[in-house]
């Protein structure tokens, strides 16, 4: 396992203590970074603040970093205007199903590639890598036709069931991880009479936990972001996920004769917040995952 648990670069460990000239420069760099941080954080601040103001004040005082007047009732109004709680639950259910499905199936396949030596392995693994570049747009129409002929359009099944067959990127990631595990652990278990399924379930999966967490979090995020599949497959608002629901709210309340901005903004906060929480809980895995795999977040 070379990529995931890479030790901190030597640069940091051996960096000499800052000299005097370096100190002032460090202050300059910190100032620049702080300025950039304000730019990146301010949209969040504005969003939360505006979502807590009455409608006619949405655009007022754009640089005041707290809501005045304070109108927390907007969040109650969202519950009344749209089934936001249902959407939240749907997003969680679909997200966990999608992430769990892709993590387990990809690990299963990755174990096949990592543990066994068999004819055709090179070609097949090459195909895994090749499918990574296949843009989703190419298979959009036929995939829809498949779910349509299976009678599953209008349900949430197409949002996660495709994940049951593994996904190239995660297969690659997990295979790399499994290849780094010492082989004698598996051989010892074999000698003790473990089946191949035992090897996968009782040894590979527990040992691969760090990589599994990365795969799970990445896919949870991808599912939570997804707008296109819910747009294509869901008609009944009771089945909407949060992004699809937020899109419906924008379409209904942002423009037209009587815009209800406070509802749109509060719904946007509700769509964003859970993922930010997940991020802070799993931050270590996230940053490590992106830095080592180069996956776009």
């Amino acid at each position: 396992m070379t990529t995931l648990d890479r030790p901190r670069g030597p640069a940091e460990a051996t960096r000499p203590a800052d000299g005097v000239g370096r100190g002032t420069r460090r202050v300059l760099f910190l100032t620049l970074l702080a300025a950039a941080s304000v730019i990146f954080l301010y949209p969040f601040v504005w969003l939360v603040v505006a979502s807590l103001k009455p409608r006619d004040r949405t655009f007022a005082d754009p640089f005041l970093p707290w809501p005045a007047p304070f109108a927390p009732g907007n969040y109650a109004a969202v519950w009344d205007a749209a089934p936001v709680l249902t959407w939240l639950v749907n997003s969680v259910v679909v997200g966990v199903a999608a992430a769990l499905a892709v993590t387990l199936s990809s690990a299963f396949v990755a174990f096949g590639f990592a543990y066994f030596r068999f004819p055709g392995r090179g070609v097949l693994f090459g195909s895994v890598l090749a499918t990574m570049m296949l843009p989703a747009a190419v298979t959009l129409v036929p995939t829809y036709l498949i779910w349509n002929s299976a009678g599953l359009t209008g349900t949430q099944v197409p949002l996660w069931a495709g994940n049951l067959f593994g996904s190239a990127f995660y297969i690659f990631l997990l295979r790399q991880f499994l290849l780094g595990l010492p082989r004698y652990v598996f051989e010892a278990a074999r000698v003790d009479g473990a089946t191949y399924l035992d090897l996968f379930w009782r040894i590979a999966l527990p040992l691969a936990r760090p990589a599994l967490i990365i795969a799970f979090i990445f896919e949870l995020k991808a599912s939570w972001f997804d707008l296109m599949k819910p747009l294509i497959y869901l008609r009944d608002p009771a089945l909407f996920t949060l992004p699809r629901g937020l899109k419906a709210i924008v379409d209904q309340f942002y423009q037209g004769g009587d815009p209800k901005w406070e509802i749109v903004l509060a719904a946007a906060v509700i769509t964003t917040l859970p993922l930010i929480l997940v991020f802070f809980l799993g931050q270590r895995h996230f940053v490590q995952g992106i830095a080592t795999t180069g996956r776009r977040g």
């Binding site: 970074l33 504005w46 570049m133 747009a137 959009l140 498949i146 000698v191 089946t195 972001f225």
Partner: protein
């Protein structure tokens, strides 16, 4: 059904047996088991990837609207693409967006990564988290947020410009400024690019930059001749990945400018991106054949870019030995 057989095969691994026949038997069993483990992926490959790709190619030569049967049209869809002004507009918008977004994102993210690399430690970690946060915001929410921020009358961005006496454009309604607004929005999302470049910078051996320093190289020279070549593979990677993503832009733009009548009327075709048009053709007009042709052209373009990535990457980019899997 598996347990008994498995234990038997497990015995094949025990030392002290005649290695040749036992090994061969185990090898055969292993092959079978290997394919058991590969089975989910093989099914997925056939049903959700190769099958749909072929189906999509076949469909692209037909006209098919879900209701009647598919009618063979030869190259009709592809010819239609060439004459369709909306395709021209969508390609123009998408390419212009890509050409603006990708270099700007790379340069800005590199700047942030260089700054992070100069402070390091706890502070760098905290700033990195802040820069990454926008990437955790679902694209629909990003689109919604920027509808407000870019609002021409009272949005934060124009309010900020007004502080300097500049009266900002109507970012969300003026066709000449919509794309600029979308690029601006895209630059809020530099998180992953910054994280990747920062990780690459931290892997640059310090002895190299210090040697250059001793040789009297200035900061720009050190960056140009030492740091940049050392991180060239990461920069190249980021540019390619961002290009492929930019060509498939959908969520934010669709959220802001499509889906409802009023939104679509204000923007006209100024925000029409390639995948948005593909989506409309497929799922609003049910022109499944035409949409498939659009999809295959996109696929070929992305395949070419990926090929360039592999070829050019191999030739011009400095790789640390065996650092890069692809």
């Amino acid at each position: 059904m598996t347990t008994a057989e498995d234990t038997r095969r497990g015995a094949g691994h025990r030392p002290g047996r005649d290695p040749a026949p036992a090994g061969r038997r185990a090898w055969r069993g292993e092959t079978r088991w290997a394919y058991v483990f590969l089975l989910p992926w093989l099914i997925g490959l056939l049903v959700f990837q190769l099958g749909p790709m072929v189906a999509s190619l076949v469909l692209s030569f037909t006209s098919y609207d879900l209701i009647g049967g598919a009618r063979f049209e030869g190259l009709g869809n592809y010819r239609r693409m060439l004459e369709d002004p909306k395709v021209a507009r969508a390609v123009g918008n998408t390419v212009l967006y890509t050409v603006l977004h990708v270099p700007l994102a790379a340069v800005l993210a590199l700047g942030l990564a260089l700054l992070l690399n100069r402070v390091t430690g706890r502070a760098a970690g905290a700033f990195r988290t802040i820069f990454y946060l926008p990437s955790m915001t679902p694209y629909v929410a990003v689109g919604v947020l920027f509808l407000f921020l870019l609002n021409g009358q009272a949005g934060v961005i124009n309010s900020f410009l007004a502080l300097f006496g500049v009266s900002g454009p109507q970012w969300t309604t003026d066709p000449d400024w919509i794309l600029a607004g979308i690029v601006l929005m895209s630059l809020w999302n530099l998180g992953s690019t910054t994280v990747i470049l920062f990780a690459a910078l931290r892997n640059v051996p310090r002895e190299l930059t210090e040697a250059a320093l001793i040789d009297g190289a200035g900061p720009w020279q050190r960056f140009r001749s030492v740091t940049l070549p050392m991180i060239s593979s990461a920069v190249f990677f980021v540019v390619i990945v961002n290009t492929i993503a930019a060509l498939q832009m959908f969520d934010q733009v669709y959220t802001m400018f499509f889906g409802s009548q009023s939104a679509q009327q204000t923007s006209g075709d100024a925000a029409l991106f390639y995948v948005v048009y593909l989506f409309q053709q497929a799922f609003q007009y049910l022109h499944m054949g035409y949409a498939s042709a659009l999809a295959w052209v996109l696929f070929l373009v992305i395949a070419v870019i990926t090929l360039i990535q592999v070829r050019v990457g191999r030739r011009f980019v400095y790789y640390e030995a065996e650092e890069h899997p692809g």
